[in-house]
């Protein structure tokens, strides 16, 4: 049953993705302003411009251009970036690991932070401590990653200058890697000083991305935990003499975590969307930062590749969430 649901949803999602690809492809081309005129010097002759357009296949009819592109995509070839003069697949493979590490770390931080504050708030329920948490959280819920990122810059670059403002790693250290997963590779190979350098660069973008998600987790999880804490099974455990913390962690959390998990999955897609602007702020070399440049330069093949990649990531996350939620909830598993 579950498999059927997943296959159905995946098919639907792929269909959507194909539709989006068509729309983006057409929109980019029917609108004035082409990449060649953006990159060429003002004095270029008409013949030069025509030659360059022919080189990138932009002189072909729309339908032919689309056909060439689809044939390539099916074969795993997204064409050649007009501004970077490199294969789009290569560029994306180069940049994706940085974004994946950033998003994954931000998710871990958000869940850890949001989860512990929610548990703390549940332990302190009906006290001044809970009121403080609720008050702060209602403000935190309003503040987007963009504002957090800038506030962190003021705090850790200006007021207490301890963190590097830009990049993913100190340039001199970037030579010693075999993969593009800097954080994972440095930890796996036991080079902890290197991992520290990577982490110091990731700290601000990670926290900026994590805080809005953490606030959402706190609100929903605390609500669910409070509801679970008055259920009979918690009362029974309390009569047995379990300590309060154990009641929350062992009894209530297991039953309360479902809705939060589903919401976290949805919110994780927003977090990935947020990497676009956060990577820009910290000049972090991921696909989000790349996307802004691609759009500004009207790098058609690169934009198309990025849109498909982002769309694909969202589909994977949504399916992953569906499976996890179903696996955790036996009632849904057979629905």
């Amino acid at each position: 049953m579950l498999l059927a649901v997943v296959v159905n949803r995946a098919a639907m999602a792929l269909l959507t993705l194909a539709g989006v690809a068509v729309v983006v492809f057409v929109l980019l081309r029917v609108v004035p302003g082409d990449p060649v005129s953006m990159m060429i010097s003002p004095g270029a002759s008409a013949a030069d411009i025509a030659a360059l357009k022919a080189h990138y296949g932009l002189d072909q009819p729309l339908l032919i251009q689309f056909w060439i592109w689809v044939k390539g995509v099916v074969a795993g070839d997204f064409g050649v970036s007009i501004t970077l003069h490199r294969n789009v697949t290569e560029v994306l493979a180069d940049r994706l690991p940085a974004t994946l590490e950033l998003a994954a770390l931000a998710l871990v931080v958000a869940v850890a932070l949001g989860g512990s504050v929610a548990v703390a708030g549940t332990l302190m329920r009906r006290s001044a401590g809970e009121a403080v948490i609720d008050g702060l959280n209602s403000i935190m819920l309003a503040v987007p990653d963009f504002i957090w990122a800038m506030a962190l810059v003021l705090l850790f670059v200006v007021a207490i200058p301890v963190l590097p403002l830009t990049g993913r790693i100190d340039p001199v250290l970037a030579e010693g890697f075999r993969t593009k997963f800097y954080l994972v590779e440095s930890i796996v190979t036991g080079r902890f000083a290197l991992a520290g350098n990577v982490l110091s660069h990731m700290a601000m973008p990670t926290v900026a991305l994590a805080l809005p998600l953490a606030a959402v987790i706190v609100r929903l999880l605390k609500q669910s935990l409070k509801e679970a804490m008055v259920q009979d099974y918690v009362l029974l455990a309390r009569i047995k003499g379990f300590r309060e913390l154990r009641l929350v962690l062992q009894e209530a959390l297991r039953n309360a975590v479902g809705p939060t998990l589903a919401l976290t999955g949805v919110q994780f897609t927003f977090l990935i969307g947020g990497t676009v602007i956060v990577e820009r702020i910290f000049a972090y070399p991921g696909i989000g930062n790349l996307a802004i440049d691609a759009v500004i330069n009207r790098d058609f093949p690169l934009i198309q590749g990025l849109v498909l990649l982002f769309g694909f990531i969202f589909i994977l996350i949504n399916i992953g969430v569906d499976i996890t939620v179903a696996a955790l909830n036996p009632r849904l598993r057979h629905a």
Binding site: S138, V158, L165, V276
Partner: protein, 300 residues
């Protein structure tokens, strides 16, 4: 006129029991009063920017570049929040920046609300093929990250204030559509709708005269929240350089300039960031407060 029972004693009891009117509830809610007051001040500042701003926001003075704010060594009279890299007055630029932010907040959120609500009302009330189409469209729309979508849209339609507003409307109508559809479906099951139908009201009349007023509280709260979102989106697009031209002071544009010279002049970043933060939080708290005070279901 409402008929009142003649016994004064009973009437007094009734009055005491009757929940306070909407206006009284709003006036009693600290969130609504504080956040609403702050936004009123912003509106006045935006309208009276030429009077409120101490300097011309565009006047450059390279001899007065990166002057720190009042209270720091090197501060100059007349520049309470200091100057930026071109010697322009930061306070005046922040005040003028409210114009773009509030214009986008009201027009973009208003239009998104109008379009989304209309589609949501139709989908929720009439159901059928229209509902299926609209719902599917919303699902597809919401599957895309808003920031990426807005940048993509701006790339297609070009930069400028109109483009920013259009991008926000095109992206965020779905928020209204989804909520309004669900609410409308709920209301359509209620007895008063059945009664209105039995009397023979036309369906559009039921939709706009009976159902719409009942979902208005939710809609107003949602609209306020959307204004906060619109302010942030405008700031992000200005930051990336895709909003209004750089001649017009915007908070996002100032933040971008401040980010470049953050080591030399942190106040160029801090001042517009503080304004943005306060505005976003105010719209959000106002939305929360309105939802609580206006909505009989959410009210505790």
């Amino acid at each position: 006129m409402e008929y009142r029972a003649p016994q004064p004693a009973t009437a007094a009891v009734d009055d005491a029991r009757r929940p306070p009117s909407v206006a009284v509830r709003l006036a009693r809610d600290p969130k609504v009063v504080c956040a609403g007051g702050f936004i009123l001040v912003l509106i006045v500042l935006a309208l009276a920017a030429p009077l409120a701003a101490p300097q011309d926001p565009l006047a450059q003075n390279l001899l007065m570049a990166t002057v720190p704010p009042v209270g720091f060594t090197g501060a100059e009279p007349g520049f309470p929040l200091g100057t930026d890299g071109l010697g322009r007055d930061v306070l005046s630029r922040v005040i003028y920046g409210t114009r773009v932010s509030l214009t986008v907040a009201f027009t973009a959120a208003g239009l998104a609300c109008l379009i989304g609500s209309l589609l949501g009302l139709v989908a929720g009330f009439f159901g059928g093929v229209g509902d299926a189409l609209i719902s599917r469209l919303v699902d597809v729309w919401m599957a895309f990250p808003p920031v990426l979508l807005s940048i993509l849209l701006i790339a297609v339609i070009g930069t400028g204030l109109h483009s920013v507003i259009l991008a926000i409307v095109v992206i965020d109508w779905t928020r209204f559509c989804r909520v309004v559809r669900t609410e409308t479906m709920g209301q359509a099951q209620m007895d008063y709708v059945v009664a209105a139908r039995a009397i023979g009201f036309a369906r559009p009349a039921i939709l706009f005269r009976e159902i719409l007023p009942n979902i208005a509280p939710v809609l107003i709260a949602l609209l306020t929240l959307e204004m906060g979102i619109a302010v942030v989106v405008e700031a992000i697009l200005s930051f990336v350089g895709l909003s209004v031209s750089s001649d017009t002071p915007t908070w996002g544009g100032m933040i971008a300039e401040g980010r470049q010279i953050v080591h030399e002049a942190w106040w160029v970043l801090a001042a517009p960031l503080a304004a943005l933060f306060a505005t976003v939080v105010a719209f959000n708290q106002l939305g929360d407060g309105l939802a609580r005070s206006l909505d009989p279901v959410l009210r505790r």
